[in-house]
């Protein structure tokens, strides 16, 4: 079984390669459609520039080369995972990305865990206590969370929990200048993590709650549940051993989609909370027309999506053993 799963994942990843390749090609040309180049941005930021200065930057960045030359050299490099050089930052793109990836991964993992857990729990309660005050409250809470813009949630969290109550820091990932080490440093990061993780998880938690509730309600109406009930099993046992697994399948699907979507949401959360992650880096590099860096982040994201989709398919088979791994057709 596990061998089959491993083989399946590898097959899926190999099939993902042409997709990633296509994404890289499209991205390369797409980002160049935006007007203005990195040299102009740098010169603009400088407030003044001589023609020699602009010419210097363009030559240094390789922007004076014909587009096809730039394209082939980029493709050649990407085949050996050389993401190029960010002239703006004066660093390798790969080192910039990996330096920032950790912060985003931590934020996404925390938000993911929080939203899936809370969503399943709240959704299950709402379904089991259907048509009660609790269920209505949960649904209202979910609708409000779903409809509230992410940046507003973030700012409200800061105003209430940082400024008014003073429980959490307003921004950043560590207490700068405190130089904590060991356990104290870990706790410091977690302290900073709470608000951004809540903000980022809000939207998805609402989604999972509603999904879980409707899915569980549907499952509870099915024949095998009636059979279980007829056997005289307690409600709690029916839900936990028979219904939950079935009802959780749509949530797993959504969680897979969320990984790629969260990268988008993290741009906003990272910006509001000054969280030094990848989303913020992508945002800044877009405005700076730092094309190599932007393409590098897109490249990494496309890999992330292909890998996550493969993983979600495998998780399916664990949650629901009836689904067989068959590399010939997609299970997604």
């Amino acid at each position: 079984m596990w061998f089959a799963r491993g083989k399946y994942i590898i097959e899926r990843l190999i099939r993902g390669l042409p997709i990633i390749f296509a994404i890289v090609v499209v991205n390369f040309f797409l980002v160049r459609l935006a007007p203005g180049d990195a040299a102009q941005v740098l010169a603009g930021e400088a407030g003044a520039a001589s023609p020699e200065y602009l010419e210097q930057i363009r030559r240094q960045f390789g922007l004076d080369q014909p587009l096809y030359v730039q394209f082939f050299s980029y493709m050649k490099n990407i085949l050996v995972f050389d993401l190029g050089y960010s002239f703006r930052h004066g660093r390798e793109v790969s080192s910039l990305i990996f330096e920032r990836f950790g912060a985003t991964a931590l934020l996404m993992a925390a938000a993911m865990t929080a939203s899936v857990t809370m969503g399943i729990v709240l959704g299950a309660i709402a379904a089991m206590r259907d048509r009660t005050v609790i269920s209505h409250l949960i649904i209202i809470f979910a609708v409000v969370s779903y409809a509230t813009p992410l940046f507003w949630v973030g700012l409200m969290l800061i105003i209430v929990f940082s400024i008014q109550l003073g429980w959490f820091p307003t921004s950043g990932i560590i207490t700068v200048g405190a130089d904590y080490t060991g356990l104290r440093a870990v706790l410091d990061v977690l302290h900073h993590l709470v608000l951004p993780a809540i903000a980022l998880s809000c939207f998805y938690m609402a989604l999972y709650t509603r999904l879980m509730r409707s899915s569980l309600l549907e499952t509870l109406g099915q024949d095998f549940i009636r059979t279980a009930r007829a056997k005289g099993l307690a409600d709690r046992t029916i839900v936990s051993t028979h219904a939950l697994r079935n009802a959780a399948l749509p949530v797993v699907t959504m969680a897979g989609v969320q990984v790629s979507g969260m990268l988008g949401g993290s741009v906003i959360v990272e910006s509001v909370f000054g969280w030094p992650g990848l989303g913020l880096l992508a945002f800044e590099s877009l405005f700076a027309r730092d094309i190599n860096l932007l393409l590098g982040i897109f490249f990494l994201s496309s890999i992330l999506v292909v890998v996550t989709n493969a993983v979600v398919d495998v998780v399916y088979t664990i949650v629901d053993p009836r689904i067989a791994l068959n590399s010939g057709r997609s299970n997604g």
Binding site: P35, Q40, G44, Q56, G90, L155, G166, V176, G177, G274
Partner: protein, 543 residues
Amino acid sequence: MGIVMFKLSSTRRGVNALLLGTALASLLPAVSFANPQAGGTLTITTTPEPAIITNALSSAPTTAELATKIFDGLLEYDMDLKPKPSLAESWTISPDGKTITFKLRQGVTWHDGKPFTSADVQFSLMEVVKKFHPRGQGNLGPVQSIDTPDSHTAVFNLAHPYPPLMMGLSSLESPIVPRHIYEGTDFRNNPAVNNPIGTGPFKFARWEKGNFIQLDKNENYWRPGRPYLDRLIIRFIADSVTRAAGVERGEIDVATFGTINPVEMRRLEGLPHLAIAKGGYEAIAPLMMLELNVQKPPFDDKRVRLAVAYALDRTFITRAIWHGFGKPAVGPISSFMKGNGAFTDQNILRFDVKDRLDIANRLLDEAGLKRSSANGMRFKIVHDPAPFGEDWRRMGEYIKQALARVGIDVELRNRDYPSFVRLVHNEYDFNMTSTWSIGMADPTLGVQRQTWSKTINKNVPFGNVSQYTNPEVDKLWEAAQVEIDPAKRNQIFHKLQELLVADSPIIWLMEMDLVAVQNKRVQDLITSPLGLRGGLYDTWIKP
């Protein structure tokens, strides 16, 4: 001005304390606060995060804010913009103005322990700043060579007299970098560019991208007992509301200009632990303006340009949009240049007259631009507000409303930064655009580029984007470059002020106050006309 007052009053407080102290010595613990305390960490927030932190290569504002702590210049300037010693202890200018000899400070060392010599000056200015700094040509253009007769003498040889040179030698404009690190390397790709070695009051410690930069005290700084602070932290937070929250909660001590919206700054100012730090932009002379494309109708007609100048209420813009952080502008040469005499408001056309709307309407009628019977509008223009934030968009909305009153229909076109630069500055595809510009301490250095015909260049943003060409103006700018008699030179500037306002290729709106928000525990934050772009070696924190 505000800062001079501030300094006076703090001195007076010191004197009073002293007088009282002789009588009531035991009752005055407050006296200790008048003496700077060493130690502590100052946290500053600025935006955007700079791309590099060596300002010999870039004049980006945040690069300058950081690098001026790490590097020194040959000179500094007092609040009246008079040169004073820094790495240069003294200087003499030859009578013909073509040779300037600097005596350099002895015993100064770089952060890596190597001694500072005249060779560093020669290398920095000729090989680096003049070649790579965006304003290097403007500051040092006529300097043909620098001789180093001994290790602590630098002799500048100029092609012709160039008075603005003495105003362009601060750490902001012409930082001195270590020759032993850079010589023979590709300067821009040298790793030291983002791990810099200087002679300044603070040493570079580390840079967590997207998060903060840390500078530590230079224990061997050549100013005895300075700096007071142990550490400077510069934090980067993308969202302006979050920055304001950080300041409000005391996590951040100082927020530089542009990091917090003016309306929010007024709110923070009201909190007991916060204050507005005025001053520290005298040497920068920041000016806000509307640039008009004079090569295209309708602004090729001077009457239309003047009509717009009359139709806009500068006082309203200053008060309502910028919440009083500035004052209405007179012309291209800002009143910040009062100290050196370049500024004048005599014989200058004024637009803040009572019947300004009638005049505007009359001018437009004379230009043959009649109101249409359909909507009362005369013609339509596109306005590109500077992509510097929501306040600029709001000013665009005001301009739309104000010009509608005289029958000009304005369409607003808000773009992101690179698109804006390409459309407006590289393709000249615009009618009217807002911007701000730094005039520097001398009009030749900062003001000239907007109206001198030789700075019309599609490939170079932020030059003479109006494409204004006037032989008389050109002649005056060129005369000011070489005139060594300060009085005659100022007369040239006064004439330029008069001519340019009368012709209004640009509408000068507001002299900006680049104020910062600061926590009151921070003392002596602004002690130079460069303000937060100074070395901050006198700044200390009340324990």
